[in-house]
């Protein structure tokens, strides 16, 4: 884990600074208003951008040892505070999308495998291929437009989901009425991938000798599927779920914009646009950390699902 984190830190730091422009240009000259060049230089000095690159890198790295991850170059507020505001929303959407995906993917994938080459299988495969082919942000746009047009048509007044976040514990109804739509939009694509993986993994397991043996000794099909086949086919599905979950935590860049969600993905876009190096660096490191932790958790679940797997 550590070498990956160090490598990511070096890469993100130097790659960001290889891009022309900086936050002071965007902040003070971006609106086209009159700006004094001395003010831009003053801004650079205050943000530490005038220091040599190696000194900036040293500040960045030592921040991890002093638990001072720095301040956003755009707002001046601590990076941890800025991320802390957005993290619960991204986490909730990721969890909801995962729930949507799992609820659909495992039963559909299993039915599709069991009813292989029947109309049910074809229907599930069509549904899942459509989900893979359809970008979730595009589905999101369709959902918003569909809600606006549909409600205006049927009720006379257009309705769209709320565009500002309220935590679940404050107003559950308003929270869910905002987040259910992006969860469905991203969960559909996510479930499509997982459905196809469940189907092919289960088909492979169903062809194993021990399944044939179970059937030969007259075991009930339901028990064969649920107890012996499904559990063993879950390893690749779990990998997919893990990867997708990690992706959702930082990768919902466009979908968060489409639904105006104040999450990590939107912050990512805004930070990159504003050349806010401090924020972008820490966001990249956060996403790398989440990906590593998710992989670690998936590895632990592997061992639980398949007792033959042992980590030395």
């Amino acid at each position: 884990m550590l070498p990956t984190l160090v490598g990511a830190a070096i890469l993100v730091f130097f790659l960001l600074r290889a891009i022309p422009g900086d936050v002071c240009e965007v902040r003070l000259a971006g609106s086209g208003l009159y700006v004094d060049e001395a003010e831009i230089e003053l801004c650079r000095e205050k943000l530490g951008l005038a220091k040599p690159l190696i000194a900036q890198f040293f500040d960045f790295i030592t921040g991890y040892f002093t638990w001072d991850l720095g301040d956003s170059m755009w707002t001046g507020k601590p990076v941890t505070e800025e991320i802390g505001i957005r993290f619960p929303l991204s986490l909730q959407v990721a969890i909801m999308a995962t729930v949507v995906a799992v609820v659909f993917a495992i039963p559909l994938g299993a039915i599709s495998a069991i009813k292989q080459d029947t109309w049910i299988d074809y229907a599930v495969r069509t549904f899942s291929i459509a989900g893979i082919a359809m970008p979730s942000f595009w589905l999101g746009i369709l959902i918003i437009l569909g809600l606006l047009i549909g409600t205006q048509h049927f009720f006379g007044t257009p309705w769209m989901p709320p565009i500002d976040y309220v935590p679940l514990y404050e107003d559950p109804l308003r929270n869910l009425s905002q987040l259910i739509w992006p969860a469905v939009a991203t969960g559909y694509r996510y479930s499509a991938v997982a459905t196809r993986m469940t189907r092919s993994a289960l088909l492979e397991v169903l062809r194993e000798d021990y399944i044939r043996t179970a059937r030969a000794k007259g075991m009930i099909e339901k028990i064969i599927i649920n107890r012996h086949a499904l559990k063993n086919s879950m390893l690749p599905v779990l990998t997919i779920i893990g990867i997708e979950f990690a992706f959702l935590m930082g990768g919902l860049v466009v979908t968060e914009q489409v639904f105006n969600l104040n999450g990590i993905g939107k912050l990512f876009v805004e930070s990159v646009q504003a050349q806010d190096f401090a924020m972008t660096q820490q966001l990249v490191m956060l996403v790398v950390l989440i990906a590593l932790l998710t992989n670690f958790v998936v590895d632990l679940i592997y061992a639980w699902l398949d007792p033959r797997i042992r980590y030395g």
């Binding site: 609106s31 505070e81 205006q152 769209m160 105006n260 646009q273 504003a274």
Partner: protein
């Protein structure tokens, strides 16, 4: 007889109906109290300090918490010369002592949201921070106050600004919406950085919360100094960077208004979807889209080539057709079109690139290019990766230049890289450029055309422009200013590297229940929200 009685009856009935209608419409125009105004903002807040920030992303949500010394008339913001006192009393003073002394009387009984009194010392502390900041303290617009010599407070309710020379740029600069009045005590006790992260104003609304990336909310200030205002109980400024979200938010009534502006297509979509539930206000915008030729590079060091670039552009046709798809419309010179200092149509037509005979202009452009040995050249055209209006106008410019045989290759870059090219690297032949100012202050705004200005990117050298500008800055009467402005404009167009395309056009479709707000020629102006009420 019967006919005349009938006629009188009909007239009386009509009169009664007319009178009743008048009464009803008058009562409909009476502001209603209460309600929360939700509006969307397409940009982010860097800090809360108006003295150093320059984005409307800060002005729209934060300006309602602060007062200004004076402001554009909220009921007549379209007039760029109509100013009204905010914390000052009476009318905005004219300059005494040959236009070098401005004395403002400050209202009595004013207070900040924390209960501290507001008087002339606070106004002085504010303008000292803006005009004479200590070393190392940023003040983004201090150059606009270079004419100010001293600021003196003879008593608690009087403040006097003494100028080094009379200047027509002083009053508009003082009315800029960024000049938030801060408490002297806050500055003294907490330092000059305190207002970046804290708010203590005296505006129509009191700060409630800011959830970064989500929203800013404010509640009614019961001690606001404009009697009876504000009408709203509060407001919520919701951050929504995507234009489609801002548009759909108004359609779905998640927000009632967006104060920056939408393109024509968005306006039409909203009107088609909602009919009379949408009201549209439109205005010329104090932003001009331009292009700048890099005179450091051949063949753009040749004034004939630069002149050909501007002659090739048909601004009048663009005004008709481009205005249907982009937020640009009005043909104008270097001064905001409806300002008294702006060129008249006849004056404009006499300038290169503004003739209505486009064929003759293009023939001249081709001849100039041939003469300069630059006919048919391929060149790099730097543009900003923002649709409205940069990419739309940039694509149109490519077509215009092709009409005289030039071959521009458009390079669209994200904003930071676009600025790096324009301001630091200078690795462009021609670039899209723009001049977008908050308050209409032509004498300050035209500094963009000075070769020596920090925000002029052509790399040209022209001391004559500085000399003319020096006279313009000191000209006392508007007549004098007008004559010198024409001289400046002519010199800038003849020799400079920057040329105008069209002035932007501001379109604000909003929910019809939003009343009392009037469109201004800038998205920075008229944002105190104190005159807005909801007819729900």
């Amino acid at each position: 007889m019967k006919k005349s009685i009938f006629k009188m009856f009909v007239m009386a009935t009509a009169g009664l109906v007319f009178a009743l209608t008048g009464v009803l419409s008058a009562s409909a125009a009476t502001p209603k109290r209460g309600g929360i105004l939700n509006f969307v903002v397409g940009s982010k807040i860097p800090s809360y300090d108006g003295h150093i920030e320059s984005t409307f992303g800060m002005i729209h949500p934060i300006r309602p918490f602060y007062s200004l010394l004076f402001r554009v008339n909220p009921d007549n913001p379209a007039d760029p010369t109509d100013f009204l006192c905010d914390v000052c009393e009476g009318s905005v003073p004219a300059g005494a002592k040959g236009g070098t002394e401005y004395t403002f009387k400050i209202r009595k009984g004013l207070q900040f949201h924390n209960g501290a009194p507001l008087n002339a010392h606070d106004v002085k502390a504010t303008f000292d921070k803006i005009v004479f900041p200590p070393e190392g303290v940023p003040s983004n617009r201090k150059a606009m106050f270079r004419m100010v010599d001293s600021i003196v407070v003879p008593d608690d309710h009087t403040i006097v600004f003494t100028l080094k020379f009379p200047s027509g740029a002083f009053i508009p600069a003082m009315g800029m919406p960024f000049n938030f009045i801060y408490s002297k005590k806050d500055l003294d006790d907490n330092g000059y950085d305190w207002h970046k992260k804290n708010i203590n104003g005296s505006g129509a609304f009191i700060f409630v919360e800011h959830v970064a990336g989500s929203h800013v909310s404010g509640k009614r200030n019961p001690n606001y100094h404009h009697e009876g205002k504000p009408y709203l109980d509060g407001f919520k400024a919701i951050s929504a960077p995507k234009m489609s979200i801002r548009l759909q938010a108004i359609r779905g009534d998640r927000a009632a208004i967006e104060f920056r502006g939408f393109p024509p297509k968005a306006r039409d979509d909203l009107v088609n979807a909602l009919g009379d539930k949408i009201t549209v206000q439109e205005s010329d915008w104090n932003c001009a889209l331009m292009f700048t030729a890099n005179v450091r590079r051949k063949p753009f060091d040749d004034p004939r080539v630069r002149r050909a670039l501007t002659l090739a552009v048909d601004r009048y046709e663009a005004s008709q057709y481009l205005a249907n798809i982009a937020i640009v419309k009005t043909v104008g010179g270097i001064v905001f079109p409806s300002h008294p200092l702006a060129a008249t149509a006849a004056e404009l037509e006499a300038m290169p690139g503004f003739s209505k005979d486009i064929e003759a202009s293009r023939a001249e452009a081709r001849a100039l290019l041939k003469e300069a040995g630059a006919d048919g050249i391929e060149f790099d055209f730097n543009n900003r990766g923002v649709d409205q209006p940069y990419k739309v106008v940039g694509t149109w410019l490519v077509d215009q230049w092709r009409q005289v045989g030039l071959k521009p290759i458009q390079r669209v870059q994200p904003s930071p890289q676009f600025y790096a090219t324009l301001r630091k690297k200078h690795d462009f032949d021609v670039s899209v450029d723009f001049n977008c100012q908050s308050i209409v202050n032509p004498i300050a705004d035209v500094t963009k055309f000075l070769c020596s200005a920090g925000n002029h990117y052509s790399g040209c050298e022209n001391p004559k422009l500085d000399e003319i500008y020096g006279r313009l800055l000191r000209a006392e009467s508007q007549d004098q200013q007008r004559v010198i402005m024409r001289e400046f404009e002519s010199e800038a167009f003849d020799t400079g590297g920057t040329a105008l395309t069209l002035w932007w056009y501001k379109i604000n479709p909003h929910r019809s229940y939003v009343k009392g707000w009037k469109i201004a020629p800038s998205h920075y102006l008229n944002q105190s929200l104190d005159q807005i009420w909801l007819d729900k």
